[in-house]
Subunit: 153 residues, 5 copies
């Protein structure tokens, strides 16, 4: 049975972890979920590593970086750490970050967080169970959250 | 018995290490504390690694970066190093940085350093002993130091 | 038999993976291709690591970073990750990135993506089968995509 | 017997390595010194790694970055490398960098290089032999080179 | 017998690899040279790792970064990768980069590339065969290419 790790934060203003689990379960009822909630995005690389060491076949790392310059730098460091964990282990860690300044208001923020989380959950399922679907979409300008860009005609 | 490592600096202008130990002990009298004080924040990744290699189950890394551009870069390098240690070991290193230019004066600096340190100490205890509490707070906009942002309604 | 890994993305707006495979096959019919398509460029370091762990002797990592500042930072993180994978494994990962703002319009974008991909595929073949050809070109100002700069006379 | 590694450069304009050795020896006559001089600061991470692999219990890495933008970037890369070596090995590498543009003239540069080197040498001795002294100084605003900031009252 | 690796690029506009080999051979006829030419500077960390894994005792990594912003970032990533390889292996990788915008014209570019390459080749020989010569030059303001800065009087 495939195990998917969910690493999320108490800093985020939307419960992205619960959304991810809901979407994953609705697509593949057989998977086992391991969830590890940490304070902020800088704790996500460690959470991902722990989930991988615990046997997860893929991890989703969900967070909501703030809008200040220092928050941007934290997000950069967190992303580098998530990539480092993947470079060391060869296990996919799907980063789902929604920046607080990407949305115009709370309503759009919630909408964006949900849509991006669900679309990345679909990617996670495809990576584990249906890699051929991703290859069929190769070079077609897919986006997670806002509209797809589409392929060059 | 759980062991928590405290890595702190002589550069900081508030004894954050002592505050962290006080808070940890008041919440979990049974834990064992290992403390390693280093000159500055760039020495914290090594201190964290040493504490982990010595058997700590979690480390708090406390520092007070300066306000100059070069200090900001040092803080960036220190953060990257702390994340690298976690990516390599899978042991949480809770970074507690209070930037000297975050506060308007010494009084606020002291207040902020204490509050952020104590709130992160609570996070450390939760990560080790009560992970379900963090999951209950997932996506609720928690902050350490200044006011919580709260969840999107 | 030599195995070449192809890591590409659904984010790209041109099917660079298919172009790479076509060029590689036309130059060395005997090679075996392993293809792994991921959502975006930040997933490429993990894909490269997986392809290497699966036995590939060289990997091409193809992607199309966006034009926004955040996209530039993602491309930077992805590049760092690809280099980290190489530093850890000693297996070449040829990065083929075409930035969406490098071309004036879709037509040029498609042309550039194809030309750069095919020229890097030639480099990949040379690295694996004809290293002496690259040494003959040492210091001659080769470019992939736009015109060669040529050697200093 | 404790061994301390000294990694220094031919690029620096003051013989910081000799100053460090003088200070270390005056404080702990029993230590053994291993010195490895490299061309520039970017060679220091490798020198530190070699000294550690050769059995040093602590390394001092001394350098004098230039004032140009490219020099700043080199210093950043060198610092990241020194931190990486520590993250990998758990051995302290005390970075002693004096930037050429920190001083108003050669006279101050020499004064600053000597003072900072000697104060960091004291830190090195304390880390190895008297860690309790550093803990007593925790949070007291120590600086190396210019005046101490002191603790918040 | 000592083996020195030469990693160079087809992107460079001067055959720096050949210059390095010429200088190394003229100084130490007994050394064995292993040369690996790659497309661009971002391929140098992997080349260095391969040369080290193949038994080289030291590597020279020679490249000529372009003048555009994206080229600067590539050079930064390449430098970080070269330092990472050294942090992991403890084998010196002497970086010899000549930026295309360091020289006023092709003539100066060629002069600078040759002089810097030859001076770094001398450093490489000293690191392997005469480390005491570098220590004698410690803190004397050596430069590779343009004029030495000299020691502070």
């Amino acid at each position: 049975m495939k195990r998917i790790g969910i690493a999320d934060t108490t800093f985020a203003r939307v419960d992205m972890g619960a959304l991810a689990i809901d979407e994953l379960k609705s697509r593949e009822a057989s998977i086992k979920i391991e969830r590890l909630t940490v304070p902020g995005i800088k704790d996500l690389p460690c959470a991902a590593r722990r989930l991988i060491d615990g046997g997860c076949h893929l991890v989703m790392a969900l967070g909501m970086p703030g809008a200040a310059d220092i928050d941007k730098q934290c997000a950069h460091q967190a992303s580098q750490g998530l990539i480092m964990v993947q470079a060391l282990t060869g296990i996919h860690v799907i980063e789902v970050f929604v920046h607080l300044d990407e949305a115009r208001d709370d309503r759009e923020l919630k909408w964006l967080a949900e849509r991006r989380t669900r679309e990345h959950a679909e990617n996670a399922i495809n990576l584990l169970f249906h890699p051929e679907r991703l290859t069929r979409q190769a070079g077609t300008g897919q986006r997670q959250g806002f509209e797809d860009a589409g392929p060059v005609e």
